[in-house]
C-alpha cells in the first residue's frame, strides 16, 4: 500500500496551513524571482533581501500543491538570518538530499529535513525544489 505518511510530515502540513513569510513586498532592496512548473500549475515568486552578507528576509507568494507552498515557507524560516554562504550550503545540501545524491549530513537543515521523504517520490522533487531554486536565482542577482 501507500507510504504517503513519509511525504506529508507534520511540519509540512503545518507550514502549508499556516505559511510564514507569505506575501511580497514592494521594496527595491529585495531581489525577485518567479518560477513556474507548467506541468501541474505550480507558480511561485520568491523575494530575498541580503545585507552585509546576511539573508535578512525572504518573502514568497504563489499557488501550488502542499509540497511546493510549504517548502517556500519552511525555506524562509530556515534561511533568514543565515549568512549567504551558510544559506548556499544548506541549499546545496537540501537539493542533493531531494535528488538522492550524496550530501553532507553534518549540515543542519533544521525543519527542511522534513522533505527527506520527497526523494522517494521522484515526480514530486520538482515541487519541493522550485522555491529553493527561485531563491537561488535571487541570490545570483544580488551578487
Amino acid at each position: 500500500m501507500n507510504n504517503m505518511e513519509n511525504l506529508y510530515r507534520q511540519v509540512i502540513m503545518d507550514h502549508y496551513k499556516n505559511p510564514r513569510h507569505k506575501g511580497l513586498v514592494n521594496d527595491e532592496h529585495y531581489h525577485t524571482s518567479h518560477i513556474k512548473n507548467p506541468t501541474c500549475g505550480d507558480d511561485i515568486t520568491i523575494q530575498s533581501r541580503v545585507e552585509d552578507g546576511i539573508v535578512k528576509d525572504i518573502r514568497h507568494e504563489g499557488t501550488g500543491c502542499s509540497i511546493c507552498c510549504s517548502s517556500a515557507s519552511v525555506m524562509s524560516e530556515v534561511l533568514v538570518g543565515k549568512t549567504v554562504e551558510e544559506a548556499e550550503k544548506i541549499l546545496e545540501t537540501y537539493l542533493n538530499m531531494l535528488t538522492n545524491k550524496e550530501y553532507d549530513e553534518e549540515v543542519e537543515l533544521e525543519d527542511a529535513i522534513a522533505y527527506q521523504g520527497v526523494s522517494k517520490f521522484p515526480a514530486r522533487i520538482k515541487c519541493a525544489s522550485i522555491a529553493w531554486k527561485a531563491f537561488e536565482d535571487t541570490l545570483k542577482e544580488s551578487e
Binding site: 500500500m1 501507500n2 507510504n3 504517503m4 505518511e5 511525504l7 506529508y8 507534520q10 502540513m13 496551513k17 506541468t39 501541474c40 500549475g41 505550480d42 499557488t63 501550488g64 500543491c65 502542499s66 509540497i67 511546493c68 517520490f121 515526480a123 514530486r124 515541487c127
Partner: protein, 402 residues
C-alpha cells in the same frame, strides 16, 4: 467486450497491479502494433518513394497502404489523408495554410473555452496576424457547447469554426451534425479536432461533412510521432504547403518550384514511415474490437464509476452528465498534484493539471483538475481499484490535516 482478455494484448500489463486511467493523454500500445513497428525496422527499414529497389518498394507499399487503411477507416479518399507528426501538427497546418490564406481583417473565427491549446492557439495566432476576431461560443452551465449557443455567435462574417469532437477535459461530445451544416450555410469551413473522438467512436468524415479533421496515433493504440490530417480534396487542392523540401515537390528551378498534389505537398522530407505503418495496424485492431463494443464498454465503466464516486463525500465531479469515458473531478481542499501522488502510490495512473486547456480550467474556477479516462483495456476491477483508492485518499488527506 472482455477487457481482461484485451489486457493480455498489452505487454505493459505484465505488471498486474497497473491501473492505467490516463488514455486521454496517451493510450497504451498493444503488442501487435509494436510488432508491426519492429518488423519495419528489422526487415525492411529503408526509405520510401525515393528508392527503386525491392526493399524500398515494400516500405513504400506498406506506407501507402496504411494511408488507404486510414482513409477507409474514416471514409475519406486516399488523397485526403495527410500523415502528420500528431494532432497538434495537423491543426497547425490547417491554421497556417488555410487560415493564413483565407482569413482577412474583420473576419470572425469561432472557438470556445473547451478547446485544447493545440486547436485554440493556432487560431489565436491567425486572428492576431490577420486582425480577425476570435469569437467564443458561450458554454452552458454544465460546460457544454450547444447548437443554440453556437448559433448565437455564428454570423456572416464567420470564416472558420475551430471545434473539438470530444473535449479532453470534460469528455463532452459536440453536436457537430448540427453545427457543421449551420456553419456551411454562412460559408464557413469547420476544422474538427477529433483527437479524443477517433479512438472511441466511428467517425465518417463524409457524413459528418467536416472540412478538416485531425487526430493522433498515440491516443488510439498507435505509436508516437504520427497523426493524421483529413482535408476535403477541393480545399487541399488550392492550399499551399506549409513546409517545403524533399518529396513534396515535382520540379525545382533555381527561383521557382512546383509542388506535388495533396497529400504529398504537405509531407516534406522522410515521413514517419514505421509510425504510419504501425498506425495502420492500430486501426485494424480497433476495427476488430468494434466501435460499438468499445463505446458500450466505456459507457458502462463510466456510469458505474460516477455512480460510486457520487457516494463518496468530499469529491466534486465536474462533468457528471458526461457521455464518454472521461471523468473530471477533485478531492475537495486537496491540490490535484497532491492527490495524484496518492493514487500513484496505488499504481493508478491519472492526470492532474490543466490538460492543455487552461481556459476551461479557469472556467471551472479551479487551479487544476484530476482526470481519469477509460479505454478498451480497462476493467471493472480497474474501476474498483480506483474507487477504493479514492476513498483512501479522501480519508488520508483529511487525517493529515488538508
Amino acid at each position: 467486450m472482455d477487457a481482461n482478455r484485451i489486457k493480455q494484448d498489452f505487454q505493459v500489463y505484465e505488471d498486474k497491479t497497473l491501473c492505467y486511467l490516463d488514455s486521454a493523454a496517451s493510450s497504451l500500445k498493444p503488442d501487435r502494433v509494436i510488432n508491426v513497428l519492429d518488423e519495419y525496422y528489422k526487415k525492411y527499414g529503408v526509405n520510401v518513394h525515393r528508392g527503386v529497389y525491392n526493399l524500398s518498394y515494400i516500405a513504400t507499399e506498406k506506407y501507402e497502404s496504411s494511408r488507404q487503411t486510414i482513409a477507409d477507416f474514416i471514409n475519406a479518399d486516399f488523397d485526403e489523408v495527410i500523415f502528420t507528426r500528431g494532432a497538434s501538427n495537423a491543426l497547425n497546418v490547417v491554421a497556417l495554410s488555410y487560415g493564413m490564406a483565407h482569413v482577412n481583417e474583420g473576419d470572425e473565427i469561432i472557438v470556445n473555452e473547451l478547446e485544447h491549446h493545440s486547436q485554440l492557439l493556432p487560431w489565436q495566432q491567425v486572428a492576431k496576424a490577420k486582425k480577425a476576431k476570435l469569437v467564443y461560443i458561450p458554454l452552458t452551465i454544465e460546460g457544454r457547447i450547444t447548437t443554440e449557443n453556437f448559433q448565437k455567435v455564428l454570423t456572416n462574417k464567420t470564416k472558420v469554426v475551430a471545434i473539438n469532437h470530444t473535449s479532453n477535459v470534460m469528455g463532452y461530445i459536440t453536436p457537430l451534425e448540427e453545427i457543421i451544416p449551420l456553419a456551411h450555410e454562412v460559408g464557413a469551413v469547420v476544422s474538427v479536432d477529433a483527437a479524443q473522438g477517433v479512438p472511441h467512436q466511428k467517425i465518417d468524415v463524409k457524413s459528418l461533412d467536416a472540412d478538416f479533421l485531425a487526430f493522433s496515433g498515440h491516443k488510439m493504440l498507435g505509436p508516437t510521432g504520427i497523426g493524421v490530417l483529413y482535408g476535403k480534396e477541393a480545399l487541399l487542392k488550392e492550399m499551399s504547403p506549409v513546409e517545403y523540401g524533399g518529396d513534396m515537390i515535382d520540379s525545382v528551378e533555381k527561383y521557382e518550384s512546383v509542388a506535388k498534389d495533396a497529400p504529398y505537398k504537405f509531407e516534406t522530407g522522410t515521413p514517419p514511415i514505421g509510425e504510419a505503418i504501425a498506425l495502420g495496424e492500430a486501426v485494424r485492431y480497433i476495427e476488430e474490437l468494434g466501435y460499438e463494443n468499445i463505446r458500450e464498454h466505456e459507457q458502462a465503466l463510466k456510469e458505474y464509476t460516477i455512480k460510486e464516486m457520487q457516494k463518496i463525500e468530499g469529491v466534486t465531479i465536474y462533468n457528471p452528465t458526461v457521455e464518454t469515458g472521461i471523468i473530471a473531478f477533485n478531492i475537495d481542499g486537496v491540490h490535484p498534484h497532491d492527490a495524484v501522488t496518492y493514487f500513484d502510490g496505488d499504481n493508478i495512473c491519472m492526470r492532474a493539471g490543466h490538460h492543455c486547456a487552461q481556459l476551461v480550467t479557469r472556467w471551472l474556477n479551479v487551479v487544476a483538475t484530476l482526470r481519469i479516462s477509460y479505454y478498451v483495456y480497462n476493467t471493472f476491477e480497474d474501476a474498483d481499484q480506483f474507487l477504493t483508492s479514492l476513498k483512501g485518499a479522501v480519508a488520508f488527506f483529511k487525517s493529515v490535516g488538508f
